[in-house]
């Protein structure tokens, strides 16, 4: 079964617009996805019909809003195969979810001599929170190195996982390389050494069927806005017993059970971690995004993106002087994005010419500066796909890249010297 992309595209109003007089080709989905009408309408419906603060009002609107908000928690749990909605905490974004876990779990548990294991391909959001935690606790950081074609060096794992390793925090899918990491295997090996595993699923949750019980991970973080939902909503999944034992991250309303002038006791999980009025409207609209993806089917989404990626890789190889990053081949270990550079051209110049052609890509360091250093580049161009992209759009990307090369010519410093 292939996706009915034409029908899907009609649900996304923004895809009908033009940019600089050309039809928009939106290939920056790894940064944020576009939103279907169902999600946009859900925001308006909430504010038009049942806007109220949740969990405290004793009037009809408050009850409706609370029910809708908590229903999305249930839906989120089902979407990732979590055993209970009590293990789902809503945050602002994946970054905040990781910070919540790092602080709530790590501050009281880590000390000098303990180690947090990361990888060389992490986004800053799964790196800097651990740097802060290490500074605060005296724990140290270690890194799984990557191969030249952008895979984790799994043969180094046994040496890196020691009894000192308390946590492995690793991305499920690299936002630069497209690499899909073998999480289940990593979890098994980490657990054998007694380390917990947190998975950064910001790039995988939008594109793959996720099952946290099958993966076996202890915590997992992702963002609504990369998966058809609004900005301002993130999700932390963590095992219930971990959440029970963790300290609150933020203090305030909603997260308490009782408050005295000088002390307080905490609400039950997950509300213990949701201080203050949450992002009610966007959480409710996020539920529509999950529903949309469920109706299409995550297996279909993934298959569609793999076909687009295979087509893109084949066509990108036509270009003179192109360097592609990430795993060779078009196998299952690669998600729906491609990073590349054209010899002699800075990705920002490439991005500017593509923009003039209506093609939106990302150019820069992708919030992964250590990985850029490992690849030996300052920046890359990146095209990232989603369920509404087409083969024709990939072809327009290639045409626009040819146009960029024609526009700049081959600069003197990359011409072979005579």
């Amino acid at each position: 079964m292939t996706l009915n992309v034409e029908r899907i595209r009609r649900d996304f109003p923004i895809l009908a617009r033009t940019v600089h007089g050309k039809p928009l080709v939106y290939l920056d989905n790894a940064a944020t996805s576009q939103k279907p009408r169902q999600v946009i309408d859900a925001l308006a419906a909430y504010y038009s019909r049942f806007n109220a603060n949740i969990h405290r009002g004793i009037h009809a609107l408050a009850e409706e809003a609370t029910a809708a908000y908590e229903a999305v928690r249930e839906r989120t749990a089902r979407f990732i195969g979590a055993p209970s909605s009590r293990s789902i905490v809503f945050t602002r974004n994946a970054t905040e979810a990781i910070n919540l876990f790092a602080n709530g779990w790590g501050r009281a548990r880590l000390g000098p001599g303990d180690q947090i294991l990361l990888s060389e391909m992490e986004h800053h959001s799964n790196l800097v929170p651990w740097q802060l935690l290490a500074q605060a606790t005296g724990a140290s950081l270690a890194f799984i190195p990557i191969t030249d074609d952008g895979r984790l060096q799994l043969d180094r794992l046994d040496a890196l996982l020691t009894p000192r390793t308390k946590l492995l925090a690793v991305t499920h899918m690299s936002n630069v390389l497209g690499t899909i990491n073998p999480i289940a295997q990593l979890v098994e090996r980490a657990h054998r050494q007694g380390a917990l595993v947190l998975v950064d699923a910001a790039q995988s949750a939008p594109h793959l069927a996720l099952d946290v019980q099958r993966l076996g991970c202890d915590a997992l973080a992702f963002s609504s806005h990369k998966m058809l939902g609004p900005t301002g909503v993130g999700v932390l999944y963590a095992r219930e017993d971990l959440l029970e034992a963790m300290e609150p991250f933020l203090g305030g309303g909603e997260m308490i059970s009782d408050v005295q002038l000088t002390s307080a006791t905490w609400n039950e999980i997950p509300w213990k971690f949701e201080a203050g009025t949450p992002n009610i409207a966007d959480v409710i609209a996020f539920g529509e995004a999950l529903g949309y993806l469920e109706r299409v089917g995550m297996a279909q989404v993934h298959a569609h993106e793999q076909a687009l990626t295979a087509h893109a890789l084949t066509r990108l190889r036509e270009l003179d002087g192109i360097t592609l990053y990430g795993p060779d081949g078009n196998g299952a270990e690669r998600g729906g994005l491609v990073s590349f550079n054209l010899e002699g051209l800075h990705p920002h110049d490439v991005g500017t010419v593509l923009d003039a052609e209506g093609v939106a890509i990302r150019a820069g360091h992708h919030c992964a500066k250590p990985l850029m250093r490992r690849l030996g580049v300052a920046a890359t161009a990146r095209a990232s796909f989603y369920l509404y992209n087409t083969r024709e759009e990939v072809d327009r990307l290639i045409d626009a890249l040819h146009a960029a090369q024609a526009f700049f010519g081959r600069p003197a410093h990359v011409r072979p010297s005579r």
Binding site: H20, G21, L345, H346, H348, D349, T352, V353, A356, G364, H365, M372, V377, A378, A379, A403, F407, F408, G409, R410, P411, A412, H413
Partner: protein, 147 residues
């Protein structure tokens, strides 16, 4: 190619990018100054040989986007042979140009005037500005060291 692109990448800018003038190094120059835009990876190193208060010879090396590299080439061309005081006025005029202010009539910007189009692309202004920021810092550091 659309108009919008031609405004940013004026012909003279593309010429300097493809065939930079003043590219190279001057190991025995008095002023060596480097700078980078860490977010996009543009890098420039200027070498300036001074003769009295004159910028007798300027060479640069760098890597990065077309705007940053062309700006370096055009700046080197504009400043070579000028006095420190004149060079300072060119730098001030370029800063004014980026702020959309009129440069003083008496300042000859040469090819640098082509960078006026960059103003319409706010994220690219820092690409152009890297060159004069590096030169200004290098000359200032030299002046402080010389006193």
């Amino acid at each position: 190619m659309v108009e919008q692109l031609d405004e940013l990448y004026r012909e003279v800018i593309l010429d300097h990018f493809k065939n930079p003038t003043h590219s190279g190094e001057l190991p025995d120059a008095q002023v060596h100054a480097s700078g980078a835009n860490p977010l996009c990876g543009d890098e420039l190193t200027f070498h300036i040989r001074l003769q009295g208060d004159r910028l007798a010879q300027i060479r640069f090396r760098g890597k990065g986007c077309a705007i940053s590299q062309a700006a370096a080439s055009m700046l080197a061309a504009a400043l070579e042979g000028k006095t420190l005081r004149e060079a300072g006025r060119v730098v001030e005029a370029m800063k004014a140009l980026m702020r959309s202010e009129e440069p003083g009539d008496s300042v000859d910007l040469g090819d640098l005037e082509a960078l006026a189009g960059v103003r319409k692309f706010p994220v690219r202004v820092k690409c152009a500005a890297l060159s004069w920021n590096v030169v200004e810092q290098g000359l200032e550091a030299h002046a402080h060291g010389a006193h």
